[in-house]
Symmetry: C2
Subunit: 586 residues, 2 copies
């Protein structure tokens, strides 16, 4: 099926069983070796590498063999499949080679600015500038093949469950809520702008109101944010919504999706996803997206540390520790590194207490001055430490200390080799708070988004104590990465109006921005909910990589630039005039 | 699989074999009828309609039954499946009804502004404003279900042929060539703009240079054009490209796709696509996208009409006619209508000559004064007219006359019922000219786009007579609609530079706009080509409809507005400031 008028086979296809066959191949010159009178070439295409041998009997082949071949030149060759003397077991075509009779140079190539090898000598910047050459490298191509496979399997799974893929518009309306929008000036409506969607949120809710029942879309979304290393201004979501469901239905449907993906794409059986409340995630991991590939849970120690000689503990709102199994042998230097680690501004602790439970049963700590061996044993008991383990303890204000210990826990997990990229721990975090207080703006903020419903049993608290109201909201976490989240939505106009009010919208603002949704709620909105998964991130996790950029064919850099096509770029004055806009002087 | 915590079955699922089963359904109230003490309700969801019966034995049901039910209200009911007395053979659930025991109103509904029926009383404007209600209507939902199915089957077919779906960026670079771009101001790069892609053309070519071999994408594209009825500012393409191929490979691969779609989506076997050169299409149909559901080919008559008494024919560059089978009975009034038709400015003819070949064998024409019966018989012979047929003839400048006769031919096809929406005639038009001359700008224009390759045998004519150079370009035509097209691309830097030169690009312009592509050509570009199919249009053809708008969930109107969300709209001054742009006074 890959046969065309220019080739009979691909470079990954021929086997010893094809011995004697006359074939035509096309591809790029990967490697050239000369041996005696013969020239050997590795010819490469997307499907593999096949060795060519030129015996230089005819003039053209001889000249090419001697001086004319270059790396990355494009060849079309006719020849005969023959058995190789020195077989190469590492590649699938390694038992044969092609005795070339006719060679045609389809295109020349300059020497590429970096080597087209699995391990290249090209740095990030040059690879991005010549992304089309970078794409020739196996690891990059494999990442995008993985991405293709994941999209196909996502669609297969959802299609079988009667989900409809519906395309929602890209030219929509700007809303000040949330992150910054990219906007698009309208020529036909001067002075007015479209916005690019940060997500199809309102459209998928309208589809539910429209009776579509089960919707999904693998869709580009856009956020004009200052970019961190792992963010792109345009990114892709698996976006889903269901009607006539409760939270349980959504959790089951989409953990089914992720298990299907692991099974079909990576041949891994993932167990049913465990669930953890937000409160427990914060208490035991200091983090709303805990990496549960390893245990090392937080143990709170307030009950045993207070009222001793150690002021740091006495003054602390929270004293909390982790037990690093088998790390009692850590050297002075390693412990100093950990102390330095927790004192980094991004982590923010003021110091680190350690207790070694040595293999000989003795205990050694950084607070021996203040605590007796008996007292240290009490720590060990509470933290379920055994001989050979290292206890690490932080103290201070509750939330800050939890955050810092979370970082230390991840660091210890990495150091102890407990975060293997090919092991996958997937779970749900549920029962998120509905609101969080924004101290700067002095108002409540929707933790998920303004359409998320409160738990029915907590609605009464909306007036008296909004901060403790829990939402029907959930995140899916894989290996400590939030790959997606969602909620059961509000589908009642009064409750939605109450939410907008709590979030500080005036009636006019709410009407101007979300009037169409509020109106839609008046015409029989069904109960509904959904979620969105970050597709770039999911692909990078499946690929065992940290950065999403390698799973995007043409990514942008941290300034939002595409260095290959040199975009963004100035546009003609005439274009600006047509759009009715002008540039401000800097 | 459609069971959730809120329903055991859908409204399209229950049959007589479920008799006696206790079920829970959710849906919208479609219809309410009261009969004796009972209330009957048609409950609707995406899957169908189920009849509910309320006997009003308990208080709540009675009250609801008497006054509380309204159209489009959302209900959840528990009840028992029972056999219906008056069976409804028209719907799949028509043999049963549900004896309701518990009813819960999940949401109220105001009376919708139009009826939610297959034939609605709502006009276009109101349906667009309340699109979420319009989506509840069966015909609209079925269109989008068709679209979903077509996307799934497109992907299945291409995936099996080893095509990879690769997402290309939406934030790209503006190029003055072609239609107008939508642009996006960059906040991080003040004074600079992204553009939204009119197609992923250059990116798919870069993927071929990157060795990806077979690419596709179902992708949103954007064009800031003054909109006609069937154009949308954002539209969707099935975009494809292949490397190491000739034109023949592309034609076979993509006629395979379309035949697969007809087979799987509509259970129709389409024969192998016929092919017609552009020259023949113009000569025999006056049109580069002929509707070949019916014959009625053009017959040129210059050889027999010249040198007679009739000045109109003598002065004409071209005299050409069609033979409308069985239309000899056309009345004076009908013939006058046809004359009016061809004289409309959009058609542009100055008059129409008819010759009736009556069933009694006599001939009657509008030019009896100038031509004898013998001469008229000669017309009939040349046009293969038989008794009962109507010959229609136009004369004038060649291209104008062909265009006008093409319109008349389509009109006659429609009048004679030869253009059934459920009959499909698919074919290729090939051998397009490479260039067309733009009289206004006084320069050559790429007929397809600047990357299209000339036929190798015509390259020598590029200097001497560029207008007759044929391209490796092809269009797929279904029922007289161009559903897509493509070409074999230039993959050689010198030839591409020559093309840019012919098209009036300065070297600097070419470098600024397409430098990255020209550079890429220096590193071993393979022979490649591809095509793009208009997905919205393809869906509307499959759905037997004329307008694409009904196959788009949330379309825009002819001013590019989404009247539902009221977009585009003004944005805050603060947003403009951040982007470094200002609005010009009108």
């Amino acid at each position: 099926m890959l046969r065309t008028h220019l080739r009979t086979h691909t470079c990954g296809e021929l086997r010893l069983s094809d011995n004697g066959r006359l074939v035509t191949l096309c591809g790029w010159v990967q490697k050239i070796r000369r041996l005696g009178g013969a020239t050997f070439i590795d010819l490469r295409d997307r499907y593999g590498i096949t060795q060519l041998v030129f015996h230089g009997e005819d003039r053209e082949n001889r000249i090419l063999g001697e001086e004319g071949f270059h790396r990355e030149m494009v060849l079309k060759i006719d020849g005969k499949v023959i058995e190789r003397e020195n077989k190469n077991k590492k590649i699938s075509t390694g038992e044969i080679e092609i005795q070339v009779s006719i060679v045609k140079v389809l295109n020349e190539s300059k020497t590429p600015p970096f080597t087209i090898e699995d391990e290249t000598d090209g740095g990030d910047d040059i690879r991005m500038k010549y992304r089309y050459l970078d794409l020739r490298r196996n690891p990059v191509r494999k990442n995008l093949e993985l991405r293709h496979r994941m999209a196909i399997e996502t669609r297969n799974y959802l299609d079988k469950l009667n989900f409809l893929e519906v395309e929602t518009p890209i030219l929509i309306k700007s809303t000040p809520e949330g992150a910054r929008d990219f906007v698009v000036p309208s020529r036909m409506n001067p002075g007015e702008f479209y916005a690019l969607p940060q997500s199809p949120q309102t459209f998928k809710q309208l589809l539910m109101i429209g009776g579509f029942d089960r919707y999904y879309q693998i869709v580009k979304c856009f956020r004009d944010e200052d970019l961190r290393a792992d963010r792109q201004p345009e990114f892709t979501q698996i976006d889903c919504e269901m009607a006539f469901v409760e939270q349980e239905d959504i959790l089951q449907t989409f953990e089914g999706l992720v298990r299907h993906l692991f099974k079909t794409v990576k041949s891994i059986d993932i167990p049913t996803l465990s669930r953890m409340t937000y409160a427990d995630a914060m208490k035991f991991y200091g983090n709303d997206k805990p990496d549960i590939r390893f245990e090392m849970k937080f143990v709170e120690l307030n009950n045993i540390v207070k009222g001793k000689e150690f002021k740091v503990f006495n003054d602390a709102q929270l004293v909390v520790g982790i037990c690093a199994k088998g790390a009692a042998e850590y050297s002075r230097k390693q412990l100093d590194e950990l102390t330095e680690f927790v004192k980094r501004p991004q982590v923010g602790a003021t110091g680190l207490v350690y207790i070694k439970y040595n293999s000989d049963g003795s205990l050694k700590s950084s607070v021996d001055k203040f605590f007796s061996t008996e007292q240290l044993k009490e720590f060990a008991l509470q933290m379920q430490a055994e001989s050979g383990d290292l206890m690490l303890i932080l103290a201070g204000e509750k939330n800050k200390t939890r955050k810092a210990l979370s970082e230390l826990r991840l660091e210890m997990g990495t150091r102890l080799g407990l975060r293997d990229k090919n092991t996958f721990a997937c779970h749900w975090v549920i029962d998120f708070p509905l609101l969080e207080y924004n101290e700067e703006l002095n108002r409540w903020h929707a933790m998920h988004h303004p359409f998320t419903s409160p738990k029915p049993e907590d609605i009464a608290l909306l007036d008296s104590n909004p901060g403790i109201v829990r939402a029907n909201a959930y995140d899916m976490v894989i290996n400590g990465v939030e790959v997606g989240g969602g909620s059961i939505r509000i589908f009642n106009k009064q409750l939605q109006a109450r939410m907008f009010e709590l979030l500080g919208f005036t009636k006019e603002d709410a009407q101007a921005q979300f009037g169409f949704l509020m109106n839609a709620f008046e015409f029989g909105a069904p109960p509904h909910g959904g979620l969105a998964l970050g597709f770039d991130r999911l692909c990078s996790l499946f690929g065992g990589a940290d950065v999403i950029r390698d799973f995007i064919a043409f990514p942008k850099n941290n300034s939002g630039r595409d260095v290959m096509i040199d975009s963004p770029s100035p546009i003609a004055q005439e274009q600006l005039n047509e759009l009715g806009i002008g540039l401000k002087k800097k």
